[in-house]
Subunit: 333 residues, 2 copies
């Protein structure tokens, strides 16, 4: 568990896109972001207060989160100097970079010397159990996609935000590095050893109040041959009561797999639901989340209306129109 | 790749069952087993020539394979003495034990000193790629089960044996520790990190001759919530042209999952085949392998006839009646 709140390290980001992780934290957990730390030449700006390390600490920050991608997978000397200062000043550091903090000998030594933690959120930090399939109390919702990167995390976070605003009993459960950095906790599922994937999802979504919803971040797709095993483990380990189907209608082939067509929403429904019922016979498909970012407003509205009529389920783009109708559907389960 | 042939170490096995791995090697790759090494009190006997370490070397053995489970997950001092002698004498050592050879400092030191290899086949030794889904040449057969441990490995090995006898172009591709020790090569799929599972299967079953069949060892079951993700990765990474359905008809619930019913063979077919067609649209279900060990001969014959009529596919128990009809079905693909 990463200590919150954070000071968001934007480094020398070449543009706003490079700071996507920091933007996610600001958007979805603004209470976790006390300010931003920018180096000379930083081209990203989250609109948060610029703070030096000492100012961040004074504002309550406990962890410096690397909210930006690094260039060439190398932690530069300029970054390193800031990170060493941060450990000395009293920060833990958290990172989702491919190259690990724990592989940098000077950071490891400084963390040990000052009693600070280094969190590499790509690396599992728990010995997960093998899944036992025992039915758990409370309710769970899982987003499943026709493809990877169609908005599953966004959908779950948007539903979580809406449910919190309504005073519903809900928790977003991250299964990827960005989600883990946003909330400070979760399972980096794609880095878990095969035998323990479903067990890690059970661990992440334990027994809970009868009216509590876990909103589990989806990964991959049953139809994406590179990552379908991870999706399968989420469906069986998550024991979802409710599935949300996610889709991006303008994609011409599966992400990274030229020659592989996307399945229809009907095929996704008819594949995912029977598999989900193995672990939870009461599971149902409750709604559809469409990523319409490459459509005009008119196109999006028309497409959503068509999908809604065809599938007989609420179909929304939570980014354009909010997740309220998906939450209504969950509340009716 | 483990150097063959082997001297099979049976240690102080309390009974024949404890030497299951060694029996598998003797049964399926007798040419890999030059003899057996038994310690005082060993209650297992494979019927192979008893050999001291020097005799094994003289007979050509290159690797001492630990073909027996150890008690309490500890490598005893008596075992250790033999293993150290073996490294000194010129053997590599291979093991599928939970506790790793590479965690034993004295074995690691002796292997380094004498230039020998320690193979822990539960640990992946390759940096597998992420699956790319590109269609590969040659043909592939995968056994999928209604449950775990219903005879998938046995089925693939029996088909391999029959195909070799017919002079067909085929390779058994192990995905678990026993299979890897039998052939000396393979992927310990349940120990691979989630993101690389399907890629490991692609790596294991590369481009091949147009008439070549990979017989891929199955793992888990799409209906076993603990391990279904591993099965899914096999189905998509393996790009099977042919599926064999495997079943054990007397089981009352999924292995290790009280309260979970086994699916019917029809449900297995209707679930696995559409998923397999995502990676290989030409995939077909060609036969059914039934483990009838808990049935009498009459019961078995009647059950197989009923399944064959109901499913319209050859249904055999390869242990009782041979795998010939399954191979006939493959040859017709």
């Amino acid at each position: 568990m990463i200590k919150t709140p954070y000071l968001l390290f934007l480094g020398d980001a070449p543009d706003g896109l490079a700071a996507k992780v920091a933007q996610g934290i600001r958007d979805w957990r603004p209470e976790n972001a006390v300010g931003q730390f920018r180096m000379d030449g930083c081209k990203a700006d989250l609109g948060l207060t610029d703070m030096a390390l000492a100012e961040g600490l004074a504002a309550g920050a406990r962890t410096l989160v690397i909210g930006v991608a690094n260039r060439g997978g190398v932690i530069s000397p300029a970054w390193k100097a800031v990170l060493l200062d941060a450990l000395k000043a009293g920060y833990d550091i958290a990172s989702g970079l491919h190259n690990l903090l724990s592989d940098e000998a000077d950071l490891v030594a400084a963390a040990a010397e000052h009693g600070r933690a280094l969190h590499d959120v790509r690396v599992p930090s728990v010995d997960y159990p093998i899944a036992n399939g025992v039915k758990r109390s409370g309710k769970r919702c899982l987003a499943v996609g026709t493809d990877c990167s169609v908005g599953k995390m966004y959908t779950a976070l948007a539903m979580d935000k809406d449910m919190q605003a309504r005073g519903m009993n809900a928790t977003f459960r991250p299964t990827g590095q960005t989600g883990i950095l946003i909330t400070g906790d979760g399972v980096p599922l794609d880095a878990v050893v095969a035998d323990f994937m479903a067990g890690a999802v059970e661990w992440l979504t334990p027994d809970n109040d009868a009216d509590h919803w876990d909103l589990i971040e989806g990964q991959g797709s049953l139809f994406h041959v590179s990552f379908s095993g991870v999706t399968m483990a989420l469906i069986h380990g998550g024991q979802p009561d409710a599935l949300i189907l996610c889709h991006e209608p303008t994609r011409t082939h599966m992400r990274g797999l030229p020659g592989y067509d996307l399945p229809s929403l009907e095929t996704l429904r008819d594949t995912a639901l029977p598999l989900a019922k193995v672990a939870n016979p009461a599971c149902q498909v409750v709604g559809i989340s469409v990523n319409t970012q490459h459509m005009s407003e008119d196109e999006a509205v028309a497409y959503l209306a068509e999908v809604e009529a065809r599938m007989g389920l609420p179909a929304v783009d939570p980014f354009r129109h909010g997740a309220g109708r998906l939450v209504d559907a969950l509340a009716a389960v």
